[in-house]
Symmetry: D2
Subunit: 351 residues, 4 copies
């Protein structure tokens, strides 16, 4: 089974390459009657688009979404919504110099090994641009979740080794890192600016909090809510790990420390991060993802050509020094897709 | 869509509760002609079964597997293999005292919220015993992978805050922790013994290494190999996180440090953990999962009853002080299931 | 993707061969709280079991079902129900004489070509006995449908060239053909008795009527209700065709004859058979399936051996002279599985 | 689970309404390296497009396909192919008069009952125009099948009660009915012309023959090859029945007449229509589908409005007097999609 679809009762299928005709998504299973406009979807896409700040790529795709089906008189009809973004700023010739080289950290080598053929313009299907479809579909899911009272918020908690020391939701959309701590954000920005001048990039950690979710979502034993969120997040290009609640710290904890005890008002702690036995507890869901440093760096690196000859490569061009701020809306979108799917799956179970 | 099936081209469906008639699995898509016996499957189940050491639960299920279909004259026919383990040591009466209480850390509360009804004998479907079916099916996948030259090895690298300092594969199956460092294993055992006397439990980290895998496995953009492994691992009851290769350390790294450069003999490093762009590179796949402390502890904890009354609970009975050594074969089994599925999916793509 | 699972939101997976250890089914997605007993399931299995009359095979399987999971204190818990029927009357030695021959009309040849290996005991996985799992699962779906006010009734309308001339539901379960016309049933029985003495068998047509179904079920454009019913029916071994409402007669009709016009009280006719545009209209659903003559006949037939040598085969043993009466409960079961799945899918869509 | 996707290892997702922005399809799982051009796809679409003759609708959509992804330098990359046809001749105002009426035979009523909202322009998603995406995707599958030596040919065998008496493949594409008998084609045309002047339409039967298919395709027990073909065909709007090989005639046959006996050179007959036990035998696959008369007729018919008031409707406009010739390429396309999927599924099983 090929891998360009995600979800079951709320299901998306994405298509498109970095430098082909378009990228986009088909969203199937949208609750009929939902009022949604392309402007609402555009809002989320604008958070992902390039060129938002000095540290992100200046590629100037307008990233304008069009809705080609599934909407009638402003409302979803329940038939597939087709959301498309045409590629306008495609400069494939910029990639001519490195078309036969494997860029370190990129999927050039693995795509060629898998498919035996590779679209070397940009990163082809492996480009971050592919996530536009996810963000567009996530905006539809988010609208449905808002009606349910669910909110999803992601933000940078670490970048370039610098960690946030406080959580202030109000600053997230007002600093280039989308960090939750304005002071840390300033330090991150300074550090990343230096790194960028040194032709390098940095990784980070993005955290996500989900509130208002009802208890009972998740489908044991394999499609547990955390398993599906993990699937969703690790399917994002730069993500190398995920942890829920106390996460990897559980290795240093005892059962009496980790167990979330209960009182008549509910759970006394939330070490589980809002999911126990793969099912939502009704508490806040908290998870963090590890984001690797952007692979495209201008600093010279050793690599080989398609024919196996050793060489040195320097990936010039339009790239992000830290991808965290642009991963934030993707993390939110993927979380929304999983949650809406599980609301519908729970409705089917109880029907 | 309910959640008791996993995989696509190689697909399993598990069933069974801790104290019902049986647990087991239907394995669909087994390559016809595979020679496999119940003894080979039993070998893996014996690694998961209770009572292997002082630190694991003494529940004395023989955990004997029977093959009820799909095998003819010692060979797989390509039709579904049905593998079953009857429950013989079920003592549901032991749970009478706590049938109306939510055990902290357990799925009692969430199952009741999801389903509106709960089998309170043992942990019902949420019991670790459910993983027997996974291990049995994993043994079938492992046999197929062995023919492909693939090996999958998991082991404890941290428990109770004590980390292994070296990797010695030869000691793993010869210490109760299944740790890869004999000295650390001894320290872990001493610490856990003390904790157990204190009616507590500990968490840990299990690492897994996969060797011999061909490059090119994984189905972008959603069913990337790491995304599916993450799904598989987070679907295991006690797992709260996963990381690949450098994992969460990427947050402190630069692109030039993290990128795996290449020479004519292949990759110079393996920070990616054997997967780039969601596709296997042909290098060793390395990932780690965070295992929470066993929820069942005899130490008194605050909780509430089904009707909301506050009380104190002490989960007596047969439990593991550290579940890591018994998670090891489950981690291996789930990894085998994902890998075999992706070998078959790749064959379909190229067909 | 292997083929032993059916359904999406209400999903079954069957296993088992004619002469292996057992046949059965895992039912996933059962609405929690449903009260159901093995006796209720047994009632349906008894309608399918061999030895009900002179014209059906005398194989004396008790066909007793056991529920091994998913039920607690008489109610479904929402976790997978495992329903199993152990094989007790297996006489594989009876098949020794023809183990290397391809029986005409049977799947012996195609299974060998597909899998490269064949369980020659009985028909292995291709045996009609496989449908026991479907009937057992169908009984669970039927119970859920009864709560929705839906009834599903199948019966023989033609056998051995003799067609029913009237529809009398009260006689169906009281004649060996399960025909809806007592006079035709008598004629069919006489004719089939003669054919059986001549070592031959006959085919027929089974009709199914579904009442009480709400309008709006079916998932365009591919999982239309009629498309999924067709899939379900053609997956039954002996079925070679299906038609809805006016069926193949539409080839002789005009639009003005065929279109179901409407009045204020609803549809004026039901040529569509209760489904328009792949969605239920709320009218009675009517479809018919073509059932081929039983392949196993004692009359000598030409065939070849596995090694290609020509020979003559006579399939002695325990066989049905007309499979229609035993197909009836299978048709009902498959219809129930499709309908319950679509109720749940519709609930998911609207959630 | 919503219903706009079809197939497993070779999987399509369609989108689009009659009078929205576009219709199209995403094709996932295309064998990388396949050479295919938009011209090859267009060839098939031209066979389906309106206005080919007097008896088909004069709607003058150019129906020009664009490939927006998945192709690089003329070859499939293995990533999703996105094929789109923009709607240019949309005249929604033509439907203003009947926007609140349920057209007899159309899905107007059932869509409203299912979704609670209806796009009344044309037939919305229920329009035959939706099949453009299927035909486009089918052209890709057909190209893959051609490399395997498989050919798929459909044609009209009956229309308006007039049946073909001979099979001459060479005339099919040279008569407006796509009938396989030139004399019958002439009679059909005359009859349909008269009916059309009488503001009526006719139904028919389309037959399909598949040659060159290898033995062993089909996935018992639920995804048998005939079950999946039936699913595919009944998912086409106008199709009300399907039969394989001897089809409904089996009801009048004995086992000794129906069984396909074998000699050293292969099967002696092909009553099974090339599929036994749900698996291809290697013989020609033959099936027929019943096509209902076009629902849109200018002849006045009784109906009701959305608010339940009785009225009379006359569906003026651009419609086909007999849809058979335009169903032919759709039947072929759906058959190609099923076959290519099963080639890939078989490869996965044996891998």
């Amino acid at each position: 089974m090929p891998g360009s679809s995600f979800g079951h009762s709320f299901r998306i299928t994405t298509f498109g390459e970095s430098h082909g005709g378009a990228v986009g998504v088909v969203v199937d299973g949208v609750t009929p009657g939902l009022e949604i406009s392309s402007e609402e979807i555009q809002l989320q896409l604008d958070r992902r688009k390039p060129g938002q700040s000095f540290i992100t790529t200046p590629r100037s795709e307008p990233d304008t979404v069009s809705i080609l089906s599934g909407i009638f008189e402003g409302k979803a009809t329940g038939t597939p919504m087709m959301l498309i973004l045409y590629n306008s700023d495609a400069e494939p010739s910029a990639y001519n110099a490195i078309r036969d080289l494997f860029r370190p950290g990129h999927a050039d080598y693995t795509y060629l090994r898998k498919y035996g053929i590779r679209d070397w313009r940009g990163s082809g299907r492996a480009s971050g641009r592919e996530t536009s479809g996810r963000v567009a579909a996530g905006a539809v899911a988010r609208k449905l979740l808002q009606r349910r009272g669910v909110s999803v918020l992601a933000y940078t908690v670490k970048a370039g080794g610098i960690a946030c020391q406080q959580f202030d939701a109000s600053v997230i959309e007002h600093n280039p890192l989308r960090a939750c701590d304005p002071l840390a954000a300033q330090q991150m920005l300074e550090y990343i600016t230096r790194l960028k001048e040194d032709n390098d990039s940095v990784g980070g950690i993005v955290e996500c909090r989900i509130n208002g979710l009802e208890a009972g979502l998740g489908e044991p034993v394999f499609d547990k809510l955390d398993a599906e969120i993990a699937h969703a997040m690790l399917s994002v290009g730069s993500v190398k790990g995920i942890e829920f609640g106390a996460g990897f710290k559980v290795a240093d904890m005892t059962g009496s420390q980790h167990n979330d005890q209960m009182g008549s008002a509910g759970f006394l702690t939330n070490n589980a991060g809002g999911i126990i036995g793969g099912i939502s507890t009704g508490e806040e869901i908290v998870f963090r993802v590890a984001v690797k440093p952007t692979s495209s760096i201008a600093k010279p690196q050793r690599t080989v050509s398609v024919s196996g000859e050793e060489t040195v490569i320097s990936t010039e061009g339009r790239h992000d020094a830290c991808i965290c701020p642009r991963i934030v809306p993707v993390v939110e979108a993927m979380a929304c897709l999983v949650l809406e799917d599980h609301y519908k799956r729970q409705a089917a179970l109880l029907a």
